[in-house]
Amino acid sequence: MRRLLLPRRRDLVCQQAVELVTDYLEGALSPADRRRFEAHLAGCPHCTEYLAQMRSTIELTGGIAAEDLPPQMRDDLTAVYRRWRAGGE
């Protein structure tokens, strides 16, 4: 778990909060840091928007279609497979 480089019990500022977003989404914050992060969000519409944007970024990235296998590569690999099946490789 990443410890924050700031005195405990002090409120987070936005610039610190944005650096914690991934640890937050990954469930990697300590319970105390998680509470401080959520307390900051509760009072900060901009950081709330920022978190929503990071979620949206992840979603859009996940929507990038995989490039399909070019036919030449498929043929080459099928040939590799057939040679392997025939015991040649």
């Binding site: 990443r2 500022v13 936005c14 610039q15 610190q16 944005v18 650096e19 977003v21 991934t22 640890d23 990954e26 990697a28 901009h46 950081c47 928007e49 920022y50 929503a52 944007q53 990071m54 949206s56 970024t57 992840i58 979603e59 859009l60 990235t61 996940g62 929507g63 990038i64 279609a65 995989a66 490039e67 399909d68 296998l69 590569m73 498929r74 080459d76 690999l77 099928t78 590799v80 497979y81 057939r82 392997w84 099946r85 490789e89």
Partner: protein, 210 residues
């Protein structure tokens, strides 16, 4: 059945699990092999390109990997997922192939998630994020930024790119990514954070334009 994910039709056979494909592959099913290759091809190629200088060498690495997979398939014990196993072989081969031209692995740069100029002296937003989440839900508008997003991933530093590709494009778990790339969970999170933060910046700029 034509189940739809993110608007893309997914061939039914794509939904076979790797475990089912593994069984079919061992039984000598060529279609299962082709399916497995298709499923992982773009990730493998993009991963390999992070280590070697050319597309041609990357394609060779991918081919070599599949041959190694076929040769090793009878001994594969399933301690990791099939996907993790295949990608580990790929990364090892790509590293070997790229050894001579290896770029030094720099210490990750300490680039912040957001340009410091956007905060005031107290660390609060001076120039808050432009709102675009609603627009991203509009499929047409999202489609317009996809090409830019794809190229932005290509421009990420290598390690960040690898982690983003594996986690967010290909959907591996953090554990799988750590295993494939041989990095710690903490390191994985740092790389993921930098990569995602950079992509968010790009999207903010792009949605401001469309």
């Amino acid at each position: 059945m034509g189940r739809h994910t993110r608007g893309q039709p997914v061939p039914a056979a794509y939904q076979d699990t790797d475990a089912e494909l593994l069984a079919a592959l061992r039984a000598g099913d060529e279609q299962a092999f082709v399916l497995l290759v298709r499923r992982h091809h773009s990730t493998m190629l993009r991963l390999a390109l992070g280590y070697v200088a050319s597309q041609a060498i990357a394609e060779e690495v991918v081919q070599d990997t599949w041959l190694a997979v076929l040769r090793g398939i009878s001994g594969f014990e399933g301690r990791s997922s099939l996907r993790t196993w295949v990608l580990r072989i790929l990364v090892n081969r790509a590293r070997t192939a790229g050894e001579r031209e290896r770029r030094s692995i720099a210490v990750p740069d300490p680039e912040p998630a957001v340009d410091p100029a956007r905060f005031d002296g107290s660390g609060s937003w001076a120039s808050p994020p432009e709102r675009w989440v609603e627009e991203a839900r509009d499929r047409l508008r999202a489609a317009k930024v996809t090409a830019r997003l794809r190229s932005a991933i290509g421009e990420l530093p290598q390690r960040q790119r690898e982690v983003v590709l594996l986690r967010d494009v290909d959907g591996l778990s953090s554990g799988e990514v750590c295993s494939v790339l041989d990095i710690s969970e903490a390191n994985q999170r740092v790389l993921l954070h930098r990569g995602r933060s950079r992509l968010r910046q790009v999207l903010e700029t792009e949605f401001g334009r469309v």
